[in-house]
Symmetry: C2
Amino acid sequence: MIEPFDDSYFMRKALQEAELAYEKGEVPVGAVIVVDNKIIARGHNLTETLNDVTAHAEMQAITAGANFLGGKYLKDCTLYVTLEPCQMCAGALYWSQISRIVYGARDLERGCINLKTKLHPKTKLEGDVLAEEAGALLKRFFITRRNLN
Amino acid sequence: MIEPFDDSYFMRKALQEAELAYEKGEVPVGAVIVVDNKIIARGHNLTETLNDVTAHAEMQAITAGANFLGGKYLKDCTLYVTLEPCQMCAGALYWSQISRIVYGARDLERGCINLKTKLHPKTKLEGDVLAEEAGALLKRFFITRRNLN
């Protein structure tokens, strides 16, 4: 049987969110939250648009997901995010007790893995899903921005 | 010369915010952001009211402060918060490049010090200002809640 709803499928949806950020001149990171193969929340980075360092893709998806579920814990949820979460977002995911986090590209400098941010014992962290696509979009953004300055 | 605007003065303002959280049945943590002896932002924990794990006192103060300043960096700002920031809030403060963080009570289990959350090189972290008052309020909250259950 073909399974259309695999990790790549949902990471593509997160990449579509990242593209929306890109079009707004934002660092292109996108996220979706999934329960039972259904997307319940979407978010993309809006730190420049909102003048707010807390407006990362994951933070908005966490808030939207909890709003959809009517409770603050993201039980049985998977977050797909195109870039490895930072300390802030991983810290928020800790509080949410989310079941699973799947990231695209690694962030060696500011990501939660190398900075050793504590995740909730209920949370599984996996990565490198469509990492090349996610990384290429970020690279394209930073090259374009450098050429504009 | 008497200096009325010392750290205790602003921590009392943060404690007033914590009292507002307490009255709403929220874990009583409050925060204010100060520039040049002026409070530019206030926040108290609203995670239960908003059903949102990201609604910590500091997060709301960071968003409000950036909104007031019209820019996302909290340059020359001091955050006063009644409880040592968690990973999420310290991670947000990292992005904000805030100049100074002053906390009240320590949080040995979930605070940023023992969990080694990285702060921005521009940020100074100080603590134990009115720690007893801040801790007593938290204790009172958890004792009352335990007796209700």
